[in-house]
Symmetry: D2
């Protein structure tokens, strides 16, 4: 029995196809839907739809559901379709008629968005913390090797001397800019959709400011058509901010794989971070870095799916919007795991000073030699040509 | 304990990060890895690495694993990492020293590719069958309404008369072309990688023709460097063929949503195929079609992930290639489910002849009127201008 | 003769392949490279590399180049490869030895980034203005039809009553959020790369604060490795902000195509905004809206190209980064043109009040009827079922 | 004056926006549109719409247009919008009333598709030839160094010995599989759309077999709805086949950049294939390879644009389909140039035998050592552990 179900029963194959794995994904939303429903119930109390006692009973039951869920005892069934149905059915079973009133003044459309955005807020906060930890690990790495020079590359060819603090600082600054993007993303996403109904408001006067305040949203997303229009759009913006982080990790991982190539040996990954081969006994492979590298493409693909899904569609909810849920959750989980593992890797990186020094071969100082001529009065372009001739 | 493990223990967070959900995904590969290992064991028997009895014992045990798996009793554990480790450990546990010999003459690299390609072959065959069923349903639809005309659209504006058979025939032909692409895809993918080792052959003489024959591969993929280079490449080719099918379904679903719009009403979706709204009691929504539409973007994103993962990489295996497994499996599952549901939808579509006739408003015959003038000797361009003037 | 050329001449096919169409694209950068070179020359004067007179002469010549370019008389030749070479060669031809000194303390790497970011700043400002104009047009549209209700849709099915101001307000708010993203994007991109050399600094002490101030950059991008790392990254962030705008336009265009469908007729596009068919005399097609819709995918593809190009690469400049130039310029041009045309379309939209009223068929009021029962004390879920029964 | 124009003049900004750069792109189609129009005219002669003399006159004039175009003297003007209008206007200007008859029995929709597919056929043939040349260069490279071993890598770490012929053979085989895909692509695309009108046939009886035969199409694409549905679809299939080629070139270029890293030095790129730096006098950079690497992402983005543009759209022509023209042409041009330059690079590659030998360090033979134990009767897994212990 679903929220929208009347008497015609849904074709079984259609039912299974439309539900998909939504009932599994929604397990992560139970907590947030309870929080949102509590705020909604309190508001219904304030505007006189529910009595004080009814509010009290509903809130108690919603808190109980949260506790059950945390204990692994609140399981959404496939035929319940999603957490919203599961929760409303639970309330009706436990509270009778009262349960049938909880959906007053809302639609599943604004309800699911509310739960999702509460989850996004927590996840964005978690990403921020994880990024901060990586930034700290990078600073600490620079602090451990404050004066170690090693080759900088352009075109995958030695170019000019770089240093461990310079290299680590680059990724620190990149993450710093990502955090600015993340903050704006959070500011955009942190708007309360609750009370916007199915995208065209609800026919009773609900207090949207109150529910927004109870749920600590930064503001009410007033226009109900925009609420639905922002489904997929906000997720795309969030995923893009995550993808920017992942891009840094992708390049950092690629650097580490290259710098720790035994032929270079500037950096070393501890043995307990390396995996081996089933056929080649000598191998120490940087699988952890390769997976981080690949995770950028995973998160990018999640973003691409979302962005293509919503395009070429008229405004208003469409069921394919629901397909944006899985890639969003996956994008968060992948970014968090990748940030966390890279902080661990960074904290355990060993710089091989000898190899770094050995890598600074004479060719890498050609630009310096040209500038010595410049300091003696030669024009830069002529100095360049002179050194170039000598390099051959 | 993993196949490549020596004594250094892997950092726990690194272990969990690198294994990811691979041990769950690999459940689908147990059957295929057993089949491949049976062929490999038989070949090892032929070249004298295993005795006849050893081959017999190993084959028996591998068959038992398949039976266990089918009964849901062969579960890969997280610390086993993948099906290959789980199977080898099982063999060693049951058969002692003999189990340690099964990996002779192969690497996990060619082993996993062999299992995957056997799975691809089955899945491609399943896609072909599912596409055939949809083609049959489209033919049957055309047969049910052989003479029903309804408006054809260009620019989402009525253009000229079309018909149900013409419309259904378009998707039938599109799927026909997709099947050609699928056949070529299958022909490319159906090469035996077994015996190519980690990408550079193995140091003993294995009989690659024999294992290929036993596993009914169309040919041996001879060059071992190409075997590894084709990881991700073949998956991209396969996913693209699936995405072509999904594109047809996407457009077909979009057509059906538009043609069954109550304002048009040319087609009707039975009630048991429609879902409702949690707030609006009157709604009958084509969720099933919307999800099919969205699934195109899901499959496309799976393809995009694979194609971006393998680029800008030197040849030879990299661990991020493993991340191509999940999107490939998901691409197959999504395409199969979508083909199947669209065959069901097509079989149950009802054409509303009255609405079709009503839709054929006078403007849709403007081109015909111009051609009547052409038949009376007016040049086409002048006839066009004459009718255009009259249409205003 | 190129900046980096010594005596070995480059293979002709290689030269043509590597130059590509860069010399054409760079025409747009001449102005910005002159501005950056003027700041650089002034700084070289301040640190004593150039005399006051030399600075004066170089600045005068760079101003002359800008004037020539505006008059269409400064053309970059294919064998000059890019605007930087063309400008330095011009300076050396006109000023002799002095021209050979301008490249002191910089590399083409930081030089091109400086010119690009000055261009980005102007283009981002132009996008903001264009978005503001569309926002104004949407407000004005809402003001022209303050009380016109028309059907709101979910699942491409009539749902509940919406209104012109509600619809226009949704896109206004969406653009408002995009402008926040654009502002953050600008804040991230507006960092001075000048003086970071090829990614590892320059061997003489340059005053980066001074050039940044002269060019009105918000800050110096201090870490030179990050400067190169941000090539492609910043472009990706910018393109994503543009893509967010384009997504709104895509959906707005899709709405307009649907709402102006003659069968609906809620909105009308004036004749002088419609194109026709070469065969069907009656057609009035919304090509302009269809192209706006398609332009979202164009801009998204530009973004995708950039993001995939830079991934899986070690830090430091690579020549493929140059391929990010064309999609970035195209992304800007497409977004600007699309915003501008949509402001024009919006300003000229005609709402057909009669058709809007006619569209509000009884089914669209089902939710309201349920809420009338709620107001009379029926629980929402029971009220819903009652109205659902009556709707059948 | 456009083909579809009546008296209302198009808003100037709308006109400029809708025409875009189509009139420039269409220059490449003039030849093919003339060929298609000749076949169409001959067919109109056969079915009695044109007299023999009229056919002769039109064919002569169309041949003259082709000659003019080749001489650079047939320029499509912006207000003519596309080659089809330019050609029809030219015919009407030169041949009077007769020119107005050429559009009988066709629409611009099937006309443009016909010209495009004739171009695709030529371009696919050119790609095949270019791929063949690269295959030949790879074979020749293997032939020049038949016995040179050098390190094979997995995880960007030395793994086991590989060889120049093995490496070259991998890309040869990959291109071989791509050619199969290209052949199927050609077979799918090579269907005649001429006579299908705007997607719903034409109201007079045209002989589609005849025009198909005259234009040497493999078959008639019978279903007119499918003809329009395949716009964008076929382009996507073609671009995907090109992208598969580009993926090989991407990985081959990445290999070459890595193998020619001075630290490895297995391969050398001649000086006249390398470019330099504007600041670092010593640099020899593999720009040509980096651009080939980047071109994969360019072609992939072209494909992505096309595939996203057509999705979520009902069947029948939409103007955004026209935006698929530029990425298709760009995809062909980029693939052709990349194949050609890689054949040149391959032909000029120098293998440094000394560095190859020096690269074969002892660790690379660990697997061989394990197999020596296997040959002496140790189980593979125990042999592996023994060698692993010795490697530490």
């Amino acid at each position: 029995m679903k929220l929208w179900q009347k008497d015609a029963s849904l074709d079984k194959e259609v039912e299974s196809f439309t539900v998909g794995n939504d009932y599994l994904l929604d397990q992560a939303l139970v907590k947030y839907d309870c929080l949102a429903s509590i705020a909604h119930a309190k508001m219904l109390g304030m505007i006189g739809v529910l009595s004080k006692q009814e509010v009290k009973d509903i809130v108690a039951e919603l808190n109980r559901i949260q506790a059950l869920e945390q204990a692994g005892e609140f399981k959404i069934l496939p035929d319940q379709e999603d957490c919203h149905t599961a929760i409303e059915l639970h309330l009706t079973r436990e509270l009778g008629e009262l349960g049938k009133k909880i959906h007053t003044g809302r639609s599943r459309n604004d309800q699911v968005l509310t739960a999702l955005r509460l989850l996004y807020r927590d996840q964005l906060q978690a990403c921020r913390s994880a990024a901060d930890k990586l930034v700290a690990a990078l600073k600490q790495l620079a602090g451990r090797y404050p004066r170690v020079s090693f080759p900088g590359y352009t075109h995958t060819r030695k170019a000019m001397p770089s240093s461990i603090p310079q290299w680590a600082g680059a990724y620190r600054d990149a993450l710093g800019d990502d955090l600015k993007l993340l903050a704006t993303t959070d500011r955009i996403s942190d708007q309360s959709p609750l009370g916007s109904g199915a995208g065209f408001g609800v026919p009773i006067k609900v207090d949207r400011q109150l529910t927004a305040k109870l749920l600590q949203f930064k503001k009410v997303q007033k226009n109900p058509v925009y609420v639905q229009l922002s489904r997929g759009k906000f997720e795309g913006i969030i995923l893009n901010a995550l993808a920017q982080i992942m891009l840094d990790l992708n390049r950092m991982a690629t650097d580490l794989i290259f710098f720790s190539l035994p032929e270079n040996g500037y950096l070393e990954l501890p043995s307990e971070f390396c995996t081996g081969s089933s056929i080649m006994p000598q191998k120490k492979n940087p699988d952890v870095l390769e997976l981080v590298r690949g995770n950028y493409h995973l998160v990018s693909a999640c973003e691409a799916q979302i962005r293509a899904t919503v395009a070429n569609q008229i405004s208003g909810y469409h069921r394919d919007l629901q397909l944006t849920k899985e890639p969003t959750l996956k994008g968060f989980a992948t970014t968090l795991a990748s940030l966390s593992i890279m902080a661990l890797v960074t904290a355990n990186l060993v710089v091989n000073k000898q190899n770094c020094a050995r890598g600074l071969t004479p060719d890498i100082f050609a630009t310096e030699r040209a500038y010595e001529l410049v300091k003696r009065g030669v024009s830069f372009r002529d100095a360049y040509q002179t050194v170039a001739r000598d390099s051959r």
